[in-house]
Symmetry: C2
DNA sequence: TCATTAACAATAGTAATACTATCATTAATA
DNA sequence: TATTAATGATAGTATTACTATTGTTAATGA
């Protein structure tokens, strides 16, 4: 039996709430580990079942399929970043400083204190950096969007755009900039590691400082 | 027997050059149509084989698997945009104007004259907009990168970054901006259609003018 | 305390997917 | 005319993505 914070996610994402049982928490924990190690394409419920000494059938009682489980995990990340931004900007009055904190949350989310024991935030961030966008770049977006499965991302975009508007109320593209900062973070952390010719940033000692500086520079220029 | 321009792609992408035979050209033509209609996840060689009255085995003689076929198509697009940029900026001396043409190529590539009969550029652009990034967001990036499978994208990034440097030689992030413009194009065309709360642009009458204006505005601000 | 239920494990089975292999046919080429 | 290359036809395999059934155990409740 484990206690602690519960992240609240759209209940259409699961059949049985994985946060409420040991098996469920194991599914979350080890799906993150397996996806991080082998990628979403070669991840299967069968492999996960073996890893956690359970069965495919049992996992299917929690999630309809691997795509939805993946979407659940990415939603978790979106909610977590939302949470980080909320608590870290809470007592900040300067809007530019808030935006700096937001960018830092995008880039270095995994350096924050873990929220729950069964989620390895560092691995989860790496998954989102490298494969997160796959959850909405599908033919099912519209159907899933209408079920509210992307609400956490929209909430994030809204929160960030609000700060952007504080910094520069006349800026015409607050939502675009908000999502672009998030997507840029993911892309350029990934590019720096795998396709360095596609970016000017590099990752030194596993730290994303260059990406962070780059994002801050873009924001500064755009909102000047 | 068809004549015409041949797009030159990394020959590690195919087993037999699909541009050299009717079957090969049919594979290209109808894989684009099927992927556009049903998405890459539900696209299979079996379905393609039925569509073109051939067999799975025959398609496997051209491409090792569907991921590589997909990568071939995305490479085609990258090469095509490279080609458009080259010919359309050829006689332009003003660097800012060149960058405008580049952005227009990203956004409205499909409005250009078709290069070959068997590639529907409009469908291909829609595929790249919505699913193109999946070709490199995989666990095989490094292996495929070392085979040169992403060279066309790098060439594109290089060409665009060169113009960015012409416009503002002191700009610190030319590659980042180059790839970000391309990725932003794809993302926001997709968002405008499927997740409008994630962007400020909208698509009116199937025209991407708002996305184009938005990109031009970003570039103007960043390179000012 | 006995009966019921919930959660899970164990097992089996199915259709589709992602291939590989073999052999026959046809068209081009030498 | 003989050979080869390209394709078609067919079959087969391992894996994936599920669904269904049955049994066990632990908690709950009357």
């Amino acid at each position: 039996m484990s206690v602690g914070i519960k992240i609240s996610l759209n209940d259409g994402l699961y059949l049985r709430d994985p946060q409420d049982s040991d098996l469920g928490r194991n599914i979350i924990k080890y799906s993150i580990i397996l996806i991080d190690e082998f990628g979403i394409e070669s991840f299967t419920f069968k492999k996960l079942a073996i890893k956690i000494n359970s069965t495919e059938a049992s996992i299917y009682r929690y999630f309809v399929n691997k795509h939805i489980l993946f979407l659940y995990l990415v939603n978790w990340y979106w909610e977590w970043v939302n949470y980080l931004i909320r608590i870290n900007t809470m007592n900040i009055t300067n809007s530019k400083a808030k935006l700096g904190i937001i960018i830092h949350s995008f880039v270095a989310a995994s350096n924050e204190n873990p929220l729950v024991e069964y989620v390895n935030e560092s691995r989860l961030q790496r998954i989102v950096n490298s494969e997160g966008m796959k959850v909405y770049h599908t033919k099912d977006v519209d159907a899933e969007n209408s079920k509210g499965f992307f609400k956490s991302y929209k909430d994030l975009a809204y929160a960030v755009s609000a700060v952007i508007m504080e910094v520069n109320p006349s800026f015409k593209y607050p939502y675009t900039l908000a999502t672009n900062l998030f997507e840029m973070t993911n892309n350029h952390i990934f590019f720096a590691q795998h396709l360095p010719r596609l970016t000017d940033a590099s990752i030194v000692d596993n730290e994303n400082d260059e990406v962070e500086n780059m994002l801050n520079y873009f924001v500064e220029k755009l909102l000047a």
